[in-house]
Symmetry: C2
Subunit: 515 residues, 2 copies
């Protein structure tokens, strides 16, 4: 057991602990090597590889231990939420192409926030209506609400590995942006629903959830931005690089982690906090450190995120063979499959219910801007990209239906195993089909979908995402005659314009930026 404290059978436990870590690290290394070989083969991506290797390892351990157990580490929401998720989300914020992200901010928020509300409403009511019909009863109202948010968190890694961000920047930015915001929204909504008094569900309760949600969203964002700015200010005014690059790197990493922990401490959303902390750090703090620290932070945050992601997928694969849970769930095979099928159907339905209408809305809002509109083919890809379910779903399902990873209730056990099946099925089957689907929908794209990285200029990747931010903003807005009419017609662009002005005049001189 990974985070198992020292218990009375200390020596023995210590040894098991060391065995677990060794096996896990060895398998992680194996994943890295195999992932490297499969890089050319874009049919199978790294998530699928990690899950499959996890399944194989699980089988071997199962045979080794003569059917006693399949996982060497018990899935632990704590491990997931305290150690694995923060680096992934922080890195997403740190590496995000800010230009695209902020240009499409409103659309991303529509998909990522409104989308989760729509999707979880549909999945909740759908499962509440359909589960008893296929012979699966025993869930409480709170559980149905939980199911809605659990299956509204998407996993867009598969799609992002196939999309080319230079050819279809808008599409890439939407899928990526929604992926991050969606994770945060599901977790925040999940927590808001948990606090709900289910005995009286009325309009006031719904409004309360909504209000709670917006409070969490805003407060978390402010906390993240404030921590990022504080770090940037400290790095700029003290100039740590004078003595030691180690201190700069430590401070950036530790402050980011502190922002996450503080948010959790204040019962806010750590995910959102650390995401915005990452954005602010890459926008200001990153410019205040030495060249070596810049290279190191870029790479090390990406590496940590990569390891954490592989770790999670590996674990999901391993956990699929957890016999205890399978035995505990007394539901028949038929009902089990019925539950999974229903959930997958509801996921597809719930996602269709917001992707197409919201895309139309976004196209309407951007009708007068230079932005290309979201074509129907793109809408299908966006819809598809969000059908995969990942580690966040599993972690939330464990939180909802188990107690420290264990459950005695057969209904709860069925829900946990169903979640694992849904995640495996969507990642493996839908993930496998992503490449062919995109090839059919974007045929030009198919021909040169490997984004070749010139091994001789590894610096290129470091400079691209951050530099051509300002030119774009200014050239676009010099044409603006009246700021008021602009605000009405192109609200995001106008906000963006004034933000750039403010940023250049006040923020950058204090907190640092490209000179």
């Amino acid at each position: 057991m990974w985070s198992g404290g020292l218990t009375l059978d200390d020596v023995n436990n210590d040894h098991i602990h060391i065995v677990s870590i060794s096996v896990f690290v060895a398998v992680l290394c194996l994943c890295i090597v195999i992932g490297h070989f499969l890089e050319e083969n874009r049919w199978v991506n790294e998530s699928i590889t990690a899950i499959l290797i996890g399944c194989i390892t699980g089988t071997i351990i199962l045979l080794w231990s003569k059917g006693k157990n399949s996982h060497i580490l018990r899935f632990d929401q704590e491990l997931f939420f305290i150690y694995l998720l923060p680096p992934i989300i922080f890195n997403a914020g740190f590496q995000v192409k800010k230009k695209q992200f902020f240009r499409n901010f409103l659309t991303i928020m529509l998909f990522g926030v409104v989308g989760v509300f729509v999707s979880s409403a549909i999945i909740s009511t759908g499962s509440w209506w359909l589960f008893p019909k296929i012979g699966f009863a025993g869930l409480l109202v709170r559980d149905y609400l939980g199911i809605g948010t659990i299956f509204s968190s998407t996993d867009t890694v598969c799609t992002l590995q196939v999309l080319n961000q230079d050819e279809t920047p808008l599409l890439y930015s939407l899928v990526f942006g929604e992926g991050v915001v969606n994770d945060a929204t599901s977790v925040v909504l999940f927590n808001a629903v948990q606090k709900l008094d289910v005995s009286r569900l009325d309009v006031w309760a719904a409004l309360y959830v909504l209000g709670d949600f917006f409070y969490l969203f805003l407060a978390s964002t402010v906390l993240g931005a404030a921590t990022g700015l504080l770090t940037a200010f400290a790095l700029k005014s003290l100039y740590f690089g004078r003595h030691s690059t180690d201190r700069e790197i430590s401070l950036m990493g530790l402050m980011a982690y502190l922002s996450y922990m503080l948010a959790e401490l204040l019962h806010l959303s750590g995910i959102l906090t650390v995401f915005f902390c990452g954005i602010v750090m890459s926008h200001y703090a990153w410019y205040n450190v030495t060249e070596n620290s810049r290279i190191t932070t870029r790479h090390i945050f990406a590496t940590m995120s990569y390891i954490a992601e592989t770790f999670i997928f590996l674990y999901v694969g391993m956990d699929a063979l957890d016999l205890e849970k399978w035995k505990m769930s007394k539901t028949s095979f038929k009902t089990s499959m019925g539950v999974c099928g229903t959930i997958i159907l509801l996921i597809a339905l719930g996602r269709a219910a917001f992707v197409f209408p919201l895309s139309a809305l976004s196209n309407y809002m951007n009708r007068s801007s230079e932005r290309t509109s979201i074509t129907f083919k793109h809408q299908i890809i966006i819809w598809w990209a969000g059908l995969m379910r990942g580690a966040v779903s599993i972690a939330l399902a464990f939180t909802q239906f188990t107690f420290s990873g264990l459950t005695q209730n057969p209904v709860d056990a069925t829900m946990v195993t169903s979640t694992v099946i849904v995640v495996l099925f969507t990642t493996l089957v839908f993930g496998f089909l992503t490449k062919p689907l995109i090839n059919v929908l974007l045929p030009h794209h198919a021909m040169e979908n490997h984004h070749h990285q010139d091994p001789n200029s590894p610096n290129a990747e470091l400079k691209l995402p951050l530099l051509n931010f300002e030119e774009h903003a200014t050239t676009n807005f010099l044409r603006a005659e009246s700021s008021l009419s602009m605000l009405i017609e192109r609200p995001i662009y106008t906000i963006h314009f004034y933000w750039k002005k403010f940023d250049n005049t006040y923020m950058r001189p204090i907190f640092g930026g490209p000179s």
Copy 2:
């Protein structure tokens, strides 16, 4: 409690956990900032700062919790040996100036291996003889043997921060090398002593410990070198950088950690394994990765080691105020001070007993080489550098005298508190005197003891340690006429010469190296 698994009072425990981590991370950030301000002021170094901040934080928590407890994290040998020590030792191996290290290999081994044997024999017998005389009884033979190894592990960080490695390369290399080898030796010897059958202590038992020690030493070294070579070979033949720098960095980090865990699994010395793994990786593997990965690995391993070190010192400071242990130890203040005084005296004596004779031996062995001999002033500095006791002593004391960090036995509690006092006293008092002492002994050195690092050429530090290795070896040995007479007169140089030949002809073409 840091690594506390999920228990029944889960929610509450989770919250305490988050509070602990937040406070700890915040205090770590504070240490980094204060350490930066004190960099110019070389009287107080970073270890002392971290210990003092730990004490202050401990006092605040003590007052806050109304005298209930002073630490937010229970000291945990597992946390120390599984998570904090490996990055520190790996980094030591990775950044070691291999030229100096291997040139002085025999002397370093004399100090680091023979020295520990001498010192622990003196401390063991000394405490066995003196403790009952000052009214402290109740320890078993096994405990006295344990005490010998516990107080033989040195902490040379303080001295290394003051020494200038360009002015006194020999001295720096000896103090650094001994520090690393000594840590490993103490832990290996401690484990060897633990396995000893204390009921019959005779020459055979001593020989058995010695044999066990050499087996552990050799097997650990071979395992570390093998893992390093495997990594180098994988990186060279697969060329991961083609696709992703993240994979290269992950693989280096994970393989290093795997070597440590494998050694622990096979009951070898993880410290030695990961140290040699670090040396081999920086000698071969490091040349097989992209430029960005080189910069990133150099800096990130140093940063991780820096954070782990600060963490440990901070913890030691916080633990000093653990009231439980103070109450448990029923020994009078006078006896307590007597025990600590005796230990400190024995440490000084035990160290003097090997530093001066072994220095003379080393000078005799190197009489015909160009190496400058170890002057008496240098000998005093080497003696002084090893008087400080650090985290390894505390971790070993916890292993010997507590059970999962708790103890019910007053005698054991006294030994734990005494160890904490000895570590605090030696680090604070001796550490504080290090700078003045070196100023007196090496007056030239005192004038320019800040090793200035040009902020404009941060690359310099990366290239220096690795490049001028071969020229030196070859120029020295072209003069050699007969290899046999050389082997007798200058054994280390000869071995070095043949090793370089072998390395250039066979190893580097397979495993990579500077081109």
